[in-house]
């Protein structure tokens, strides 16, 4: 087989191995080895993805298709599109998934429903991998839904906890809202172009590029509609991405999704699923015109700012990280909005590593706190950072890795996060130079958000790892150990990846990263020299100051920075009151309408159905009587005839040989006589 033929097969293998693991773990394999099955299948997937990545990166696209079904005149194909973006994503997703699988071996050990866990996790990995290599938008939509569904299953994994059940419903419903937008966009594209194949639409000389926009009309091969629809299409995709990547206004599900196991949060809600929104936008980016792009940028920066303010005052370690994710995703959206897709993907990749690492370390801390809490029989929230402290003495390795990740999040030089954040910030300044005043606000807001980020993550680190442990109890310190080996290994590996050398030889200038070099679609912005030196310097200087300030506040003084119970504090703590607003404005009316329709349904419609049903029963009883008497009668007659004839025939076998011979001779002679001597035959 040619090189060219192996690669699609290998990539298909990468997608299907976790699916196989899903089937096996859910239905066939006993609990004890379900873990090994899942881990080995994701390992195979990872190796396959490495192979695909090294073959595809910068070596040309591979696009193969296969006919799937035909509806009337239209025929749909399924296929794989392997270009730089897909190769990078497939490597990223499977790599992170592999590490999380290993982590989960230790984290979820002893859980009763472990086989369901592995099954759902494998299903998720399979759908995510499929999403990144799918070649047409319909297929991406299908996998998009599957990813959302697996996320639903995983968030609500501990189904006996009410909070988890509520959270997964919320996540699923919000995702469905976003999907409406996605579907609308798909329909518009289809009606204009007759195909949803990405290469055909957006590739070189693709159908989309051939369509013209003149005098308020969108002229395409199949149709001729108003320009407004292009905007609607763009917004549709954006809406879908907003839901999946937890941006304003569909961001409230992500903090609640922290009810799931931390390993799940790290994989899905930090590194992969939420990145699917960004991925989609990059895939369909040619659609967006300037209006949509501006909207994306504005939403992105607004969300980034909002989320970071909320993160400042949260006390649950996972919620801080969740809002941090929302904030960083806002940065990615901003990058897309300013036209620098490469920077968005770059930040997606680096964010995947350090955010996943942050979550895994948080998981280790929670795991140990939970264990200590059980031993002490203490009644406190083991995820509350106000109950932690001084853990760096007891969990040194976790401390070191978490610090490295935090530095990457802040964007301190020598980390990968520095490179990607700089890419976004600097290009946002360059973008804003030629625009209006309002646009110029955006980069400054980005810088402010960056400093807020530094603050909240520093607060987290210092509260958790410095100072004295705040849970009361005898010899509490001795109860907390370093995390088990399987949890540490992924953390260490990710820490290495969060440093700069994975991405670029030059730790200070982002332009040399190999990742950025190959991305098309980065709008050529005028490179303004001064920005490239001033901005990083300014940013990092203040960042260091802020870290020092936080250190003083939290490690030394151990005092709450913000006064609690002020209006501003509560506003931030409750997530700018979005949840309450949604509840009043949307959830209650909908519930009311559904109760009303239910009563109508029961009284009126069921009544009608009942009458029809009763008349049906009457008819069928008549038919049954006819069936029994007449038709069964015939059938019974036939049966009895057959039986009687059979009885007659077998009576010839009397067992006596001379009888046999006699009958035989008789029949032969009769045949002969009748044949030759009777005039009839």
């Amino acid at each position: 087989m040619e090189q060219h033929d192996i690669i699609p097969v290998v990539s298909l293998l990468a997608v299907l191995m976790p699916l196989l693991s899903f089937v096996l773990c859910m239905f066939f394999v006993p609990k004890s080895i379900s873990g090994k099955v899942a881990v080995s299948s994701i390992a195979v997937s990872f190796i396959a993805s490495c192979f695909v990545f090294f073959k595809i990166w910068n070596a040309g696209n591979i696009h193969i298709q296969h006919h799937w079904f035909t509806l009337g005149q239209t025929s749909w194909d399924v296929g794989l599109l392997l270009n730089n973006l897909s190769a990078l994503m497939i490597l990223l997703v499977s790599g992170i998934a592999f590490l999380v699988h290993i982590y989960s071996l230790a984290y979820m050990k002893g859980d009763e429903n472990i086989d369901r866990y592995w099954g759902y996790l494998s299903l998720f990995c399979s759908s995510m991998l499929g999403l990144v290599i799918a070649d047409n938008l319909l297929l991406i939509y299908i996998f998009w839904e599957l990813v959302g569904f697996s996320s639903y299953l995983l968030i609500g994994f501990w189904r006996t906890r009410d909070a988890a059940v509520q959270a997964n419903k919320k996540a699923f419903i919000m995702n469905r809202l976003g999907d409406l937008g996605f579907l609308l966009a798909l329909m518009i594209l289809y009606s204009q172009f007759g195909t949803l194949d990405i290469e055909k639409l957006f590739g070189d000389g693709g159908l989309f590029h051939l369509s013209q926009f003149t005098s308020g009309e969108w002229i395409a091969p199949l149709g001729h509609i108003s320009y407004v629809w292009l905007l609607v299409c763009g917004f549709g995709f954006v809406f879908g991405a907003l839901a999946k990547s937890a941006q304003f206004p569909l961001h409230t599900w992500l903090p609640d999704a922290m009810e799931g196991p931390t390993a799940v949060s790290s994989l899905i809600h930090a590194a992969t699923m939420v990145a699917a929104g960004v991925f989609l936008l990059v895939r369909v980016s040619p659609i967006f015109d300037s209006t949509v792009l501006i909207t994306i940028a504005v939403i992105g920066i607004f969300t980034a700012f909002m989320a970071s303010t909320i993160a400042l005052v949260q006390n649950d370690i996972k919620r801080i990280l969740a809002y941090s994710t929302i904030s960083q995703l806002g940065f990615m959206m901003l990058a897309i909005g300013i036209g620098n897709n490469g920077a968005a993907i770059f930040h997606l990749a680096t964010h995947a590593f350090f955010k996943c690492l942050l979550f895994l370390c948080a998981g280790s801390v929670i795991h140990e706190m939970h264990y200590a809490k059980n031993k002490l029989d203490a009644d406190c929230d083991h995820q509350d950072i106000r109950n932690m402290g001084g853990l760096r003495k007891m969990m040194p390795l976790t401390f070191v890795t978490m610090v490295i990740a935090a530095l990457a999040l802040c964007g301190i030089p020598l980390t990968s996060g520095y490179l990607s954040k700089d890419a976004i910030l600097i290009s946002s300044f360059e973008w804003a130079t030629t625009r209006s005043f309002a646009a110029k606000l955006i980069p400054y807001l980005a810088m402010l958000t960056s400093w807020l980020t530094t603050f909240y993550i520093a607060r987290l680190i210092f509260k958790v790892f410095y100072g004295e442990l705040r849970i009361q109890g005898d010899k509490t310190e001795r109860l907390i150990h370093e995390a088990p080996r399987f949890m540490l290994m992924p953390q260490l590996f990710l820490a290495v990846c969060s440093a700069f050398f994975l991405f670029s030889v030059n730790p200070l200038s982002y332009e040399n990263t190999w990742l950025l070099k190959v991305f098309p679609g980065s709008v050529a912005l005028e490179r303004i020299h001064s920005y490239h030196t001033v901005i990083p310097a300014l940013l990092n200087l203040f960042a260091v100051l802020i870290i020092y300030f936080a250190y003083i506040q939290y490690a030394r003084k151990e005092k709450a920075m913000f006064r609690e119970n002020t209006w501003l504090y509560n506003f931030a703590l409750n997530g700018w009151y979005f949840d309450e607003f949604y509840h009043q404005a949307i959830v209650r009316p909908v519930t009311y309408v559904s109760k009303f329709s239910f009563s109508i349904d029961r009284k009126v419609i069921d009544g009608l159905v009942d009458i029809v049903g009763k008349s049906g029963v009457l008819l069928s009883s008549i038919a049954g009587w006819l069936d029994r008497k007449l038709i069964d009668g015939f059938v019974n007659l036939a049966g009895r005839a057959a039986a009687g004839l059979g009885n007659f025939f077998r009576s010839f076998q009397s067992g006596r040989i001379q009888y046999y011979l006699a009958v035989m001779i008789f029949v032969v002679l009769t045949f002969f006589v009748l044949r030759y001597f009777s005039p009839a035959i």
Partner: protein, 496 residues
Amino acid sequence: MDDYSLYISDSLNGTIAGIRGIYPEIGLVVSFLLVIFSELFFVKRIKQLPFWITLISLAVVFTLTIKQFAIGDSLTLYSGMIVLQPASVYFKLLFLLSAILFIVFVRNNQQMQQHKKGTGDLYAVLIAVLLGMNCMAMSANLLMVYLSIETVSIGSYIMVGYISGDGKQAEASIKYALFGAACSAIMLYGISLIYSFTGTLNLNADLLEGLNAIPVWSAGLAITLFLVGLGFKMSFVPLHFWSPDVYEGAPTPVTAFLTTGSKIAGFALLWRVLEAFNSSGNAISVYDFQGLIGIVAIVTMLFGNLAAIWQDNIKRMLAYSSIGHTGFLMMALVANTAGFKSLIFYLFIYLLTNVAAFMLVDKVEQESGSVNISTYLGLGKSMPLTFISLLIVLISLTGLPPTSGFVAKFLVFGSALESYKSSGSSLILWMMITGAVTTVVSLFYYFKVPLYAYLRKTESILPREKFDVKLVISLVLTFLVLIFGIFPQVITDLIN
């Protein structure tokens, strides 16, 4: 003597030239001798030596037979005694397959292996029977017909009575022997009449011309008597009376062989005779074979399938069902050359399913001791693989998709339909109708087995299933039955 000297040298030359056409048969003779030797001298040291020698030599003969496909069109050898055609090679391959399955079956059958005389002689007799069958498929002379039929028959009597472990087996063998001897004698008389009427024994145009020259009922009598012997081998009505008793009483491997190999040999011979009678250039119609086959097929189908409804002994039921299959197959003979493909395919599938069915029945009998269907209660759960396999085999025998039994029946119906369209004879129409009706009837008695095995419960202790060679082979055969049902082209393409 001088008159004959020419003939002598001619016939010597002919004999030597003809050797190249009978390599498989020579192989069989050599292996026959080898088996007898090994049975006499070496069996004490190596217990299963005759089995292995037989198996290996059958494999060798198989390859020799396959080489015979290269012969091309028909080749008359030995001054018109035998004629080698591609059609006969197909039949020979089927006989070999049946024989190989038979010896493996014997090797794994408890009763056979416990026989104090050993099974070496049985293998030798088998090889002789196989030789006879080969000659049946190739015969072009009435003497050859008689000799080969007799070889097969006498060998079969010995095989049936080989163990004679109980009264039933002895009774089966004597019924077979007496009935068979009587039918052969009648057939011989018929041949002698033909010879007296025409002066030649070769199945060629001379014979037909000769028969044409005499009053039609004389020829009819002679040929009818001749067909009695043939019908005995194929067991169609009215010459089927021996088969339920003999199949029930004989040891199961022998029954499997008789229902498949022996019956296929009968079909091969009938095919040859029909070809000889129909192939003469000016289509002399001496005897209305179509009519005869039609009536016989209808009656046989009815008889076999209807009588099987009442059977409780599974071997007896399978015996009646094979009579039914014979009747059905005769439809394929009606259609002449188009029917050949469907005939071979059906025979092949019939061979596989029947041998599998008998192997499974034997396994059940060995492990649970039940020979009656009504004692199969609850065995479906305790012997799952066996009964699943048996279920699939029975489905194939009924002729339901997706098994190959369905495809085979379908092909036969197809060829009968074609000949109906070209000849318009209503007899063919009735044959097809009867075929369809009896297929429905057969569903009933075949499905009694899974009914009792799966849906009825019993309180007694149920045996566990042993995973032995018989089960493996039955599973392989079942698998093949399913595969050929989905991909019949694999086989139908091999048949020209």
